[in-house]
Symmetry: C2
């Protein structure tokens, strides 16, 4: 992952833009833009339950849940991102931070994010996201 010289530079830039634009859309609560580059059969592994979600409608629901506990303004920052981009498949591993209201108190939450993408008809599409925190027990 850290040997970025093995990535194809133009594909790495395109993948980085898709992920950065997605995170920016989350911050401005722009649900249309959040969903703009996701495949119909998208598979989500989120921080809170359920265990998994499939497709755009269920994915939209995960953001309703996120915003129900998020601070305003929204914090959803990419602290560090590593990209492996090939000609037609890519994945991203990222260290992320958001902020939510926990028992009335704004609280930072660091989480891990992996994104899987595929290039379809010349455009990078997000096929899979995996968001998590380490288990507490």
């Amino acid at each position: 992952m850290s040997d970025l010289s093995q990535s194809r530079p133009e594909e790495e830039s395109a993948v980085r833009a898709v992920v950065e634009n997605w995170a920016a859309a989350v911050r401005r609560k722009d649900v249309v833009a959040i969903l703009a580059n996701h495949s119909q059969d998208f598979l989500m592994f989120d921080v809170p339950p359920p265990f998994s979600s499939r497709g755009i409608d269920e994915y939209r629901g995960t953001w309703d849940l996120f915003y129900s506990a998020a601070t305003d303004p929204v914090v959803f920052d990419i602290e560090k991102m590593e990209i492996a981009a090939g000609s037609d498949v890519a994945f991203v591993a990222a260290f992320m931070r958001c902020r939510h209201i926990d028992r009335g108190i704004p609280t930072d939450l660091d989480f891990r994010l992996t994104v899987g993408l595929r290039k379809i008809a010349g455009q990078w599409a997000i096929m899979h996201e995996h968001h998590s925190v380490p288990a507490t027990q």
Copy 2:
């Protein structure tokens, strides 16, 4: 992900073999085989803390922790696996089950797994694993 017809069939088969062989190695506690296809700068997001681990030595440590609580024989099953395989980068999303001893009682644990791979010198190498369960609060 589910549109597997878009994967390159020969690469998809090779990636599937790497992940299945890795899971089989976990079941027989064969640490050399577990590590056989991992890159030196491998990045791990595991179920228990720490937040992340980097490199083969830290990765080996995550298996010491796993075996300290695993049942014998080890359960580490791929329930379902979806593969997106390109010519030089691939990722896998899987529904997994293991079994650990929780307060003296063998307990099944369903978890989510994402694996990122890169083809290096003609061989698929695991660059990244992300194992998690949904957060409980």
